[in-house]
């Protein structure tokens, strides 16, 4: 031992240790920045470390998957269930939101026309198969107070009339049908009367027709046509549609016009039925 303490190897080792301590002290004084040597090593070894790290992570991940498989499956199931519940809540929320919006619109009808007795909002079950005039069925019937020949509306305007009523389902004939005639008057003048009646050509474009208007009239493009309410089948002053084009009837004796209904009859999801209103005729006919 004494020989070793006196040897050159010992002195070299002490010197080397002293160098390292000195380096350590220097590193401390750098205030967190690497010394140039360490920085160089870091730079050189960086790609190798990255690759190695990546491999080890993958290995760890694989091992982790193997060892904790049960735990992850359980967690996965729990999260899936949670997502399902959240999706269901979201769907419910959307449905409620849409329903509230619909109800708001229907409330506005009641506010504007206090004399109306309205049914519950009716969902459109489906359109009558291959009907060119877009008749449809709704999910309310006689059990909900709906009768034959009740006006069917949305907050935007008149849709049609109930033509067949069973206990829980009713069929609605729309204003595109030539079998439904509605007395209409221009809202601007409240004088130029005519009959709104669908026809084959107009219904192809989702439009209807205003016919039998006297030659002397003040109708112009864009005028809103509303129900005249003469015979008590439809309530007075309910919007039907706006005038697109004005022309003459085929006989040339009267004026007719293309009408764009206020309601897009092709895309209805819910409607409301007016079961009673002031001035309603008891003995209804299918013509207003």
């Amino acid at each position: 031992m004494r020989d070793f303490l006196k040897s050159t190897r010992f002195k070299v080792m002490v010197g080397f240790l002293a160098f390292l301590v000195g380096m350590m002290v220097y590193a401390v004084t750098r205030g967190g920045y690497s010394v140039s040597g360490a920085s160089f090593i870091n730079t050189v070894t960086k790609p190798f470390r990255a690759a190695s790290n990546s491999i080890s992570r993958k290995m760890e991940h694989t091992v982790d998957k193997l060892t904790n498989a049960d735990k992850y499956i359980e967690e996965n199931e729990r999260l899936k269930k949670q997502i399902g519940e959240l999706n269901a809540q979201l769907t419910e929320y959307d449905a409620i939101k849409a329903e509230v919006e619909e109800l708001r619109k229907f409330v506005s009808i009641k506010e504007e026309h206090e004399d109306y007795m309205l049914s519950q909002p009716c969902k459109v079950l489906g359109y009558v198969t291959n009907d060119p005039f877009k008749s449809f069925t709704i999910d309310k019937g006689s059990a909900d107070g709906i009768l034959v020949n009740c006006p069917v509306v949305t907050s935007e305007g008149l849709v049609g009339i109930t033509v067949e009523v069973s206990k829980h389902v009713s069929t609605v004939r729309t204003i595109l049908s030539p079998d439904l005639s509605v007395a209409a008057v221009a809202s601007s003048s409240n004088a130029d009367q005519g009959i709104i009646e669908g026809n084959v050509l107009s219904s192809e474009n989702g439009q209807t027709k205003l016919i039998h208007v006297p030659k002397k009239n003040k109708l112009k493009r864009g005028d809103l046509m509303i129900t005249a309410g003469n015979s008590g089948l439809f309530p007075k002053d309910y919007p039907i549609g706006t005038i697109l084009e004005i022309g003459f009837d085929s006989n040339g004796l009267s004026v007719c016009a293309d009408i764009q209904p206020c309601v897009d009859v092709n895309r209805l999801t819910s409607v409301i039925v007016i079961t009673d209103f002031s001035g309603k005729k008891e003995d209804e006919e299918n013509e207003d």
């Binding site: 291959n130 009907d131 060119p132 069925t137 067949e164 030539p178 026809n199 085929s250």
Partner: protein, 192 residues
């Protein structure tokens, strides 16, 4: 020549029941398809009822025709019973034709279905539109009736394939071929 054991009779009964359950399931699905959406759709119940009629007995065909007709009336908003009468008549007719004159071939089925669905569409147009003399009523025939007829004929191909599949597995063979009958006889004699 009919040779049936008790076990074979049980299988026959089971297959027949299952086949009819499947027929009516198909009818129900077709009804749902016909009632959904706003686009023009094929009258799937017409080829379906004809397809069932040509492979089964007359009573079954008539009842199926009536059921399909009633369902057609409901989804098309027609007078309840109108299409039932039409389809029952054509189902009975198709059943008779296939029993007496025609073989169960795809082409025969297509010819019958094409004719029946055309008549059905034409009658529908005649009674529900043309008779009321709407202005430009001819457009309904061209734009609706003919279109629906073409869709129906196209859908008949798929209906035939589905029915063929059902019948292939579940249609019991009422009669044995001569070879089968001889073989069965030989086997029963050997057992003795």
């Amino acid at each position: 020549m009919k040779i049936r054991t008790t076990r074979e009779q049980h299988i026959l009964r089971f297959k027949t029941t299952l086949r009819w359950v499947l027929y009516y399931l198909l009818i129900f699905v077709s009804f749902i398809i016909m009632t959904s959406g706003t686009l023009y759709k094929p009258m799937i119940l017409v080829p379906l009822s004809i397809g069932i009629a040509i492979n089964n007995n007359m009573y079954g065909s008539a009842v199926t025709g009536a059921v399909c007709g009633f369902l057609t009336d409901i989804c098309c908003g027609k007078l309840f019973g109108y299409n039932a009468v039409v389809l029952t008549f054509f189902c009975i007719l198709a059943n008779l034709l296939f029993e007496l004159y025609l073989k169960d071939r795809f082409i025969n089925y297509m010819i019958i279905t094409t004719v029946v669905s055309y008549i059905q569409c034409w009658l529908d147009y005649k009674f529900y539109y043309q008779i009321w003399e709407y202005e430009n009523v001819g457009r309904i025939f061209v734009k609706v009736s003919l279109r629906v007829w073409i869709y129906t004929v196209i859908s008949a191909v798929f209906v035939y394939l589905v029915l063929k599949l059902v019948n292939r597995f579940l249609m019991p063979r009422e009669h044995l071929t001569i070879e089968e009958a001889i073989n069965t006889n030989i086997q029963s004699e050997n057992r003795r």
